[in-house]
Amino acid sequence: MSRKDADSERLSAYLDGELSPDETAEVRALLQRDAAARRRLEELRRTARLVSALPRARVSDEFARRLSDRLERDALLGSTDATRTGGPWTARWVHGLATAAALGLIFVTGWLLWPQWPVRPPADLTAMRQAKTQPAEERVAMGERPPSPDSLLSPLRMEDRSQERTFAGGGDGDGALPRSRSLAKSEAAPSGEIVERFSGLAGSATALSAISAVESRGPTREFVIDAEGPDKTRITGRLNALARKRNWQVAPPALPGARRDALLADSDQGEVVPLAPDGDRRGVYAPSPSDLRLKMVRRELPHFIAALGRITQRNDAAAMAANESALQPPKSEDDETPIQRRPYPGAPGPTTSMPTTLAASAPAPSEEWIEVVVRFRGSRPPGPTSGPRAITLTTSMPAAHEPPEAAIGGQATTRESDGPEQR
């Protein structure tokens, strides 16, 4: 182990208070004389904080109930774990046959006593199932009040919807609702998605434009903005200007030439970087003509989000005053440092001319790129008729699968490391 590694290891242990007094004194002396060590310690401290700040799981009552059931079943019947039972094969066959016979007997008895079985589910239950398989947003669009999380879990709650709070409530249509009064709800949609809705954000009539949805799909982040006409032009123009400043790559939508030209005119002289010389971008872009698509390294996303929050709040003076300073993208040390612009990822074509003074640092070759889609849709006119809007944040959830098989026994399987780790 090099001296530098040894010092770094001691810094890590110093962070945890795991050094002896003598070692602690040595590290403190090192920190006093070595700026690099101080910087290293600070980076290790921040790394540890990031890990410690990871969200923790919330265990549901359902989990506790399932665990309790499993423990009781385990206590009553013994383990069903093959690695634990380990009995002779004949015993397992007998057990399986007995189970099959019992199930068969139950089926025959039920069939004899209840000829109409299996019964058709009640109409309301069928409707409920259909409703569950229908995307939540479609149901909202059709005027249905979205179900509460409880109602998705329990059919009995379906009749109680009229008693629920207004789903997208909070918006009063007269601009009195402050933006900060957002209410988030999450529900487990039948499609395996977790859908979160925010209400109140876009309900303010003072907001001529508003972010109405943020969606995340793999490396793509989609921001849906309610804006049209001059608002859309202004937002697009400012985003394009910011893209030039922060080294985000702007790509054109897949449009016929005339419509693309119109979009360019609409985007306040936004610069366009062609993806391919022949202009064929099928499969790359969605067909929406008003999308603004950017690519940026992932670390730029907080800057984008902050800027978008600032740009989309135009007439809400109080919100602007509160947010303007806070939403300023953090300045990095290399602000105003001329860097060489990099081409749009995957684009063989040349980039357009760009200003040489950029506010963002040059992306490293290994950095992850993400695509940001800003999608515009017509804004609702303010006034008493403009009701609150539901804000949807969607993320995909993997499908449930059966629990893993029984694992190893209670002994730790980690091995003792050898070499310099052992002391």
Binding site: S20, S182, S396, H401, A412
Partner: protein
């Protein structure tokens, strides 16, 4: 090296039980008594499994498996370590074993948004619209999760036990069945690797 002589520089989470002294009394009783015994440990074990395997749904299955194993093996609990340390050890073993099984989902996508919390606070901008705050949180959180996913299992385990669960080196050594010096070395390597991955994020924290 075995003893701790200075106060930790960073705050740590409170362990499952306040004391880490060996528990000489082997917990006894049926499922109900066992359930009460582990009530406070459930969230910690599920969280550890979540961060070890990278998937929230798998985490509940794995945690349940760990609790069942602990219940079955209760008679073998000899009290040489704290009960919570013993639980952590079983949970880590279950996770390490599960990660070797190919059918376990290893992708770290699909985190339940309702669980998102303090991660990425540095990227939060006071007064920003709620969806944006949550998006910024999620980005920061996902970066850390992605970086953790690049570590191998033994380094991921040691950094989670220390920085998320707040265990000291001696208890981590008991959980992992290694020496304290090994814990120190692994933790340093894990943090250094994570630091390399998160350097841009650390810069953002500094600026904000």
């Amino acid at each position: 090296m075995e003893g701790r002589h200075t106060q930790p520089v960073i705050a740590s989470a409170t362990p499952i039980d306040a004391g880490d002294a060996p528990d000489q009394r082997a917990p006894r009783g049926g499922p109900q008594a066992f359930g009460e015994l582990i009530a406070d440990a459930q969230e910690r074990i599920v969280t550890l499994c979540w961060r070890m395997c990278g998937n929230r749904h798998d985490a509940e299955d794995l945690a349940q498996e760990a609790f069942v194993k602990a219940f079955r093996a209760m008679e073998t609990f000899d009290g040489r370590a704290a009960f919570s340390t013993w639980l952590y050890r079983i949970a880590v073993n279950v996770c390490l074993s599960a990660r070797r099984r190919p059918r376990l989902r290893s992708a770290s996508v699909g985190d339940d948004l309702s669980d998102l919390g303090a991660a990425g606070r540095a990227a939060r901008h006071p007064g920003a619209p709620e969806p944006l705050q949550r998006a910024a949180d999620r980005e920061m959180h996902q970066r850390v999760v992605d970086a953790l996913d690049t570590l191998d299992d033994e380094h991921r385990a040691v950094i989670l036990l220390r920085d998320m669960e707040g265990l000291d080196y001696r208890r981590i050594a008991q959980v992992l069945g290694v020496r304290v010096g090994t814990v120190k070395s692994r933790l340093h390597r894990a943090r250094s690797a994570l630091r390399e991955k998160l350097l841009p994020t650390l810069g953002t924290m500094e600026n904000t």
